[in-house]
Symmetry: none
Subunit: 232 residues, 2 copies
Amino acid sequence: MKFSKIKQHIYSKIASGEWPENHPVSSENALAIQFKVSRMTARRALQELADEGLVIRSKGSGTYVAPLKSQTSFMAIRNIADEIRARQHDYEAHVHVLRQVPASLQVAEQLQVEPETPVFYSVITHLENGLPVQVEERYVNPAVATDYLKQDFRQITPHEYLSAVAPLTEASHQIEAVTPSTHVCEWLELAKPEPCLRIVRRTWSDAGVVTYAVLTHPGSRFVLGGHLTFKA
Amino acid sequence: MKFSKIKQHIYSKIASGEWPENHPVSSENALAIQFKVSRMTARRALQELADEGLVIRSKGSGTYVAPLKSQTSFMAIRNIADEIRARQHDYEAHVHVLRQVPASLQVAEQLQVEPETPVFYSVITHLENGLPVQVEERYVNPAVATDYLKQDFRQITPHEYLSAVAPLTEASHQIEAVTPSTHVCEWLELAKPEPCLRIVRRTWSDAGVVTYAVLTHPGSRFVLGGHLTFKA
DNA sequence: TAGTGGTCTAGACCACTTT
DNA sequence: AAGTGGTCTAGACCACTAT
């Protein structure tokens, strides 16, 4: 597709840092000439980048690389280890489970594999200054991440490893408030059950479903935040 | 705009229930003739509806009303009344409180006004098929929305009214899991406290902070969802 | 085979911003 | 006045789906 070649070109300029925040992006007409396409095709590339929050367009003025904050922290696939370290707190991971299990009906459906297919399963708690702030129960499609069980998840998070072996193309999230199971209470070192924030996430790469994860945060120790700006 | 008239037309068909889930939507060519526009313009209307998740398009087959998941997108600032109606469920609002109150220290800080300044305060529950799914406690900067107390919030949501009088330029969110207060339990008609999803939202317009809202959802009746794609 | 959505073209006019 | 993005047109070819 012609428009996606143009998007790719602009995306690489931004990703490489060659075009920093607020740097002007080539105009529709300039791109049309440069890529030998009609203006409508160049326009589509810029429009989709704007919809994705990568650039800001202003009538009469031009198109500019978006400030990072408007790339939305909500949408970002966050890495909890990086976030904790960014707060200059100690990060630590405890690996409770790391093995192959047969897929239950529910897991099979989520991962789009046949029931009873062996899949990888891990349970890891993430600690901030020694206090568990998230338990991560994760099922992984073994066809996509064959070496999953060999990783040392005290050193690298599953998210980091999976991003490396199977670049994300798609993700879905569900956020809800729940009462934690007794298992989760133990992993989170909760003496009594308390309301927990549960994030259920499924991610895809080109090869299909990569992973199905249930992330549970104690309500007393975790807030999910975001900031959005709407600039014309 | 011509394309938005077409969107409006299709939206009303879906919202009214005239076109239920999976009902075929008029084709690009049909809409182009009906609305006396070019196919590209009709196409844009359908494309934007697809981007918003209201319709599904299949090459060679056609465009269909999307299955309505009981999920709320957390990407966009949405209107709960529209979402409930989009699911073809009954929407109803109960106004529990609507008056002026002096700003407490916390509220004054959030709204960036002096403590004890009179501010507007409302408590409204939103019901889906008669069941409360959200209680909305809201403080409003009276300088920005002078007629707030005169509105009938059974007919228009505070979000709709505020969007009209003070277009959003910025918003921040916090999402957490909490045990509801006894007040909130009453508003939500919860016999026993259960984990609730609490969304705290502050919004700005050009004139400054518009509103500070605490939205509480019963965990058993609400899931916040989102879907992202990363296309080249 | 007829209809559909997906992509693309080469123009056009407008409102807006910048110089 | 020149350039930019926003909207729109009237065609075109393609791949896909349904019949």
